[in-house]
Amino acid sequence: MNRHKKLITILLIVFTFCTTVAIQTYLYVGSAQETLYWGSSGEKVKTVQNKLKQWGYYNGPIDSVYGGGTFEAVKAFQRKNGLAVDGVVGNETAKKLGLPIKDTTASTDYKPSNSSASRDDEINVLARAITGEARGEPYIGQVAVGAVVLNRTRHPSFPNTIAGVIYQPGAFTAVSDGQINAPVEESCIKAARDALNGWDPTGGCLYYWNPATATSKWIWSRTVEKKIGKHWFGN
């Protein structure tokens, strides 16, 4: 019984080893740049024809067949680029043509960055600012505060990023007194999402203030465009 197990294990190891080698060999062969010459055909020939046509060496049809026209065009291309004029697309010519050459020594695998990007960070920081600034305001007032932050990022007189606008010294009292670090309210996350998705109840306002508590004299020089809850919005 024990022997049996051992045998199976050994067999498994050998099998795994063989398949790995086989796959690697296959990959290696498959990735090497194949040489194209008169008589070749296929997708790669089409690519070469496309390139040559774009650069004005070739004016025949893009038919994926390496014929006389392509041959002459390749030769013309090689002459122009100081390559050996043989009418064959080998490694050197392919490189000059800008075709994807598989580097057999070391290649970095491109990792798709599809899944990593998201707007969660933006939603988060905006929701925190809204919580600090507009807690207890009607929902529309919370969206409006978020919209003001976003309008600022698009205006030349303000920083260009959401974090830049929110953390600009003295811009928001909730940032100065640390309220921005309070736990985020549910409705504020929704409001941040709506603001980021383009809803703007203020019609493009850049400022808001609470007339009951505003201390800056300068803010009173702004024109009022809209009043929502306790806040006045203006430009």
Partner: protein, 454 residues
């Protein structure tokens, strides 16, 4: 013996407090110094950037080489951005520096637009040289002011005072005027009053802020008419009460309403907010923040509901493009289609609650400001020609379609849209349908919630 105990305890307490206080003081000074150093560094960076900008701008005027120009433009662009970023982090009141920030943003933006023109081999005209000269002079003045301020005032812990004065909120006028930093920036702001309005192809250009609104030319409706539109839009059976709130002004002038839906317990739940454009009475936007407990509809059914709704409300030729699902609602972006050409600038957003297919969000402000009947010519280059312009590394997924994409400065470009992929990443590539120029690439992010373009 007994009478010494109390004084002894008090003495120990006093010494204890003293030590504690001293440590607090030391700690506080450390923080201040740390902050001060940060601010000093930013200030030096700001000065350096403005100096580089000044030199580069003067070089640009005498340079004749396209290659050199592009290097100079990108250098100015980078430095303007850097300077603006540093300036906005310094503790100076925003009101004092709005014009300087605007100057720096526009300068960067302008030079970026010029760099693009330079690549297209467009030479600088009389007007551009004049603009560059003016920008150079302003940069020079700003640079001088920053230096002078640095020499006279920025010694020791000046930023600390700046911070404290803000914190105390007792801005006594005299102290304010004596404050060299504020004063200096004030002077520069005053000088910037004559700063020219720059018009060019960039997002911060002056004409952009104006925008255009062909759909909103027409008769002004009355508030009663607007109120009727609200009830029509939401469906009369659902409305309990319509309340008037302050009107909206800005990009679109609107009548604003707050609607209390029927079957809502008094004092509970959210009202529906809705704005009607004063001209022609379009629904500009709507927001209903009601809770969606359980999503029972699929995204596909959601899109069906939304499309039906739009048709009922008289929005025709709108095609759903991409969707995003969150909090039990589905956000759908609709774009206008004319003669088989998609108008990406003419955007209508619809939010559908996935429990009963109700519309909980609507936004047509983009559509209202940009949509008009365009005269669409056949493209000057064919699909095949356009396809050849695309990088060979990218794989084309399907036949291209024609569309109009908005530029950052409210312009429009007529393009072929290609879906392309590269090793698992997906892209939309836009090739100009008249010139064959590759105009824009968007990356498509797909996840379980929906699709996002960046």
């Amino acid at each position: 013996m007994k009478k010494f105990i109390l004084p002894l305890i008090l003495a120990v307490a006093l010494i204890g407090t003293g030590v504690w206080g001293y440590n607090q003081q030391v700690e506080k000074d450390e923080y201040y110094t740390f902050l001060d150093n940060q601010f000093q560094r930013m200030y030096y960076d700001l000065m350096g950037s403005v100096e580089t900008i000044t030199t580069d701008l003067s070089k640009l005027i005498v340079s004749s080489q396209k290659k050199e120009n592009i290097v100079l433009y990108s250098d100015i662009w980078q430095n303007a951005y850097n300077a603006q970023e540093k300036l906005s982090q310094l503790p100076i009141r925003h009101g004092e520096i709005t014009k300087i920030e605007k100057f720096l943003s526009q300068l960067g933006d302008y030079t970026f637009a010029m760099a693009k023109r330079s690549i297209n081999n467009e030479a600088l005209g009389e007007k551009e040289i004049n603009n560059l000269e003016q920008l150079h002079n302003y940069a020079l003045d700003l640079s001088k002011d920053l230096h002078e301020l640095q020499k006279t005032a920025l010694k020791g812990t000046v930023w600390k005072d700046q911070l404290r004065r803000k914190a105390s909120k007792k801005l006594n006028k005299e102290a304010e005027q004596k404050n060299p930093i504020q004063l200096k920036f004030n002077q520069f702001e005053e000088r910037m009053v004559k700063y020219p309005e720059l018009i060019y192809d960039g997002p911060f250009s002056e004409h952009v802020i104006e925008g255009m609104r062909p759909r909103l030319k027409g008769d002004k409706i009355t508030q009663e008419q607007a109120q009727k539109k609200v009830i029509d839009f939401l469906g009369g059976g659902k409305v309990d009460k319509v309340e008037k709130t302050t009107n909206g002004k800005g990009r679109i002038d609107t009548y604003s309403f707050e609607v209390i839906p029927k079957n809502q317990e008094a004092g509970k739940g959210n009202p529906v907010y809705i704005d009607i454009s004063q001209r022609n009475g379009y629904v500009a936007w709507l927001l209903n923040n009601r809770e969606v407990k359980k999503a029972t509809l699929s995204p596909k059914q959601g899109v069906e509901h939304a499309s039906k709704f739009l048709n009922e409300k008289g929005f025709f030729n709108l095609v759903p493009t991409y969707t995003l699902q969150y909090d039990g609602v589905l956000l759908i972006n609709y774009v206008y289609k004319q003669d088989e050409v998609l108008m990406y600038s003419d955007l209508v957003k619809v939010k559908i609650a996935l429990d009963n297919g109700e519309i909980v969000g609507f936004d047509s402000t983009h559509f209202l400001t940009t949509n008009y009947i365009r005269s669409i010519e056949p493209p000057k280059i064919t699909k095949e020609q356009a396809r050849e312009k695309i990088n060979l590394r990218a794989t084309i997924e399907k036949e291209p379609s024609l569309c109009i994409i908005p530029t950052s400065s409210f312009g429009e470009i007529y393009c072929y849209e290609f879906e392309a992929s590269y090793k698992g990443d997906h892209f939309l590539v836009y090739v100009n349908a008249d010139t064959g120029e590759e105009e824009k690439i968007l990356k498509v992010i797909k996840n379980e919630k929906g699709t996002l373009m960046i």
